[in-house]
Amino acid sequence: MARRVVIDPVTRIEGHAKISIFLDDAGNVADAKFHVVEFRGFEKFCEGRPLGEMPGITPRICGICPVSHHLASAKACDAILAVRIPPTAAKLRRLMNLGQIVQSHALSFFHLSSPDFLLGWETPPASRNVFGLAARNPDLARAGIRLRQFGQEVIEILGGRKIHPAWAVPGGVREPLTEEGRARIKAWLPEALASTQAAIQLFRDVLQKHERETQVFGNFPSLFMGLANDDGLWEHYDGHFRFVDASGNVIADHVEVSRYREVIGEAVESDSYLKSPFYKPMGYPDGLYRVGPLARLNVCRRMGTPLADAELERFRRHGRGAVNSSFLYHYARLIEILGAVERIGQMVEDADLLGSHLRADAGINNLEGVGASEAPRGTLLHHYHVSEEGLIRGVNLIIATGQNNLAMNRTVAQIARHYIQATTGEIPEPMLNRVEAGIRCYDPCLSCSTHADGRLALEFELVAADGRIIAHAAR
């Protein structure tokens, strides 16, 4: 009898979701779906608001990566004002985004994901978390928590608060970086660098013990998308879209952010509030592409900083052309932290950073604008239409987690296929753990991706071919 296994809710991710695993008559895995079950409607209720409020409203989508929304939104507004923002403002925004990448990646790696592979898959869920990690390896847990704090403080030093700063505005930023702020950031750098390098060393060891996970956690050919600059270097704030295929060949490059609709289509599935973007020239669902740390490292030619570039070399030995295993998202995340810390180190030496010309002033010069930035989880797009007076008439948001939706489905199916063989109706615990961990590779943020309200939860469900739920597990 064909059945469906449902994992509901999914834990240690940002948001609320469930997973359905469909079994065929023989009890083998036929398919899997990752459902996002919440809805918020930001795209709708922003209509009618003044443009200038958007960089304040849209970060409320998320408490983990508000800065990403903040910056993508401010950039969309810049496009509508048709201004080139002052160089100091651009640099300060970049600095804040680097802080954001550090803090969010540190959260994903240390707090959410590392308990799985550092404490062991069979550790009970009650202790397989950051507290369990702190008990087993207090130095590592402390380093991780402090690394996140470093990223948060960069944000706070610039924007006045760690979460939801109202700092970037259409045309620039509001407040300058003070000499004192710069000194505070600088003082953190040696510790941040040491913690990152220690984590990378640790993860290299983990990889040797987790060959199986590397093989089955979302290891499949796909496209990858991310921002890259004109030299093809790793980019997180400006630049253009670049797509590479599973062998690392560049299949689209120099795609201006404002032309995203030529390369990205958005499909809607009836079983999830998450949209499923795809690479338009290849159609749906063949145009599956991944975004985020793994994709950015596959897309870029180099990181652009010495330590991160050396690590990128090592990373690339895990693939031919492109690295295809989603388990290596974790590795890519650490390399991005390394690159971000290095870049912050370079930036704080730049005298321009303390400039006081921060804001370009202009009226409504375009009725439409697109802004993109690399959020920790992947490329984020904000697209606004406005009236001639500057009232929002339409909003389209394309979120990193949405773009990884198809890949997450594929990952869940691959893991389930590997760990479930003709089971008899129960949901095997190690399978649950690994399916969740597979999803965590992507560090999905469901609050963002549906612009939906978040709770940390996971549910599994097992359903017969006729639709009857015959087993259910919740965390």
Partner: protein, 238 residues
């Protein structure tokens, strides 16, 4: 002018006979919360936040429009008054869309400050969430009806300080709204002098300078007082 003597919160207070309870209290250093009151323009007693109790009078009296009377015993902060004031605020918050976190006036808003100081930490009534417009047709200013509490400070400022008479109130009850001229877009107004005094007068994020972003709308109401003092007393005190 005859002086009157009364007690406010047990404190013996002397006041000129044409003074209001609010003025007498403030002269005596006793704080009574207000929202629709604005120094320099006439009071209308609309918001009911300054209601006080007077011994021997059954109803509550608005301090801003009630003249002092010899021998009165006035209480400004009884448990009952504080409860009513919180309820007044809850009703104001429930009536339209006051989303402080993303409001231009966040951190500089009189309504928000009142909620904090009077301990209004939740709203018991259903939020009405009406769908109201934002008027950005004026070159310099914007009007967001969602944030308006209909205190009419802007209307009185426009009529009695600037003398332009551009702003007015249309409609009745919950359908009331501030209009410019005969309900034309603000940018089309033929009477507005673009002086910006209404924006200075607004207690919330309803009137703002175009282009301000979240929490950026700060105002200097001292300008209004300066103009009124200069005009009425011929004293140019900055």
């Amino acid at each position: 002018m005859a002086a009157k003597t009364l007690t406010i919160d047990g404190q013996m207070v002397g006041a000129a006979e044409d003074q209001t309870i609010l003025e007498a209290a403030r002269d005596a250093g006793i704080h009574i919360p207000t929202l629709c009151h604005l120094e320099g323009v006439q009071d209308v007693g609309a918001c009911r936040l300054c209601l006080v109790e007077v011994t021997g009078i059954n109803k509550l009296l608005p301090a801003c429009v009630t003249k002092v009377t010899e021998g009165w015993e006035v209480r400004t902060s009884s448990e009952r008054l504080q409860r009513y004031r919180r309820m007044v605020l809850e009703l104001l918050f429930a009536e339209r869309n006051h989303v402080c976190a993303v409001c231009v006036a966040n951190g500089h808003c009189e309504l928000q400050n009142l909620a904090v100081s009077l301990g209004m930490d939740h709203v018991r009534f259903d939020y009405q969430h009406p769908r109201l417009d934002v008027d950005l047709s004026h070159r310099l200013f914007g009007m967001d009806h969602n944030r308006c509490v209909l205190c009419t400070r802007c209307v009185r400022t426009c009529w009695y300080i600037e003398g332009a008479g551009t702003l007015n109130v249309a409609g009745r009850g919950e359908k009331s709204k501030i209009i410019t001229d005969l309900n034309a877009p603000w940018g089309d107004s033929t009477t507005c002098t673009s002086c910006g005094k209404c924006v200075m007068a607004c207690p919330t994020g309803a009137l703002f300078y175009r282009g301000v972003t979240v929490a950026e709308m700060e105002r200097d109401r001292g300008h209004l007082e300066y103009i009124v003092t200069a005009r009425e007393k011929k004293q140019w005190i900055v």
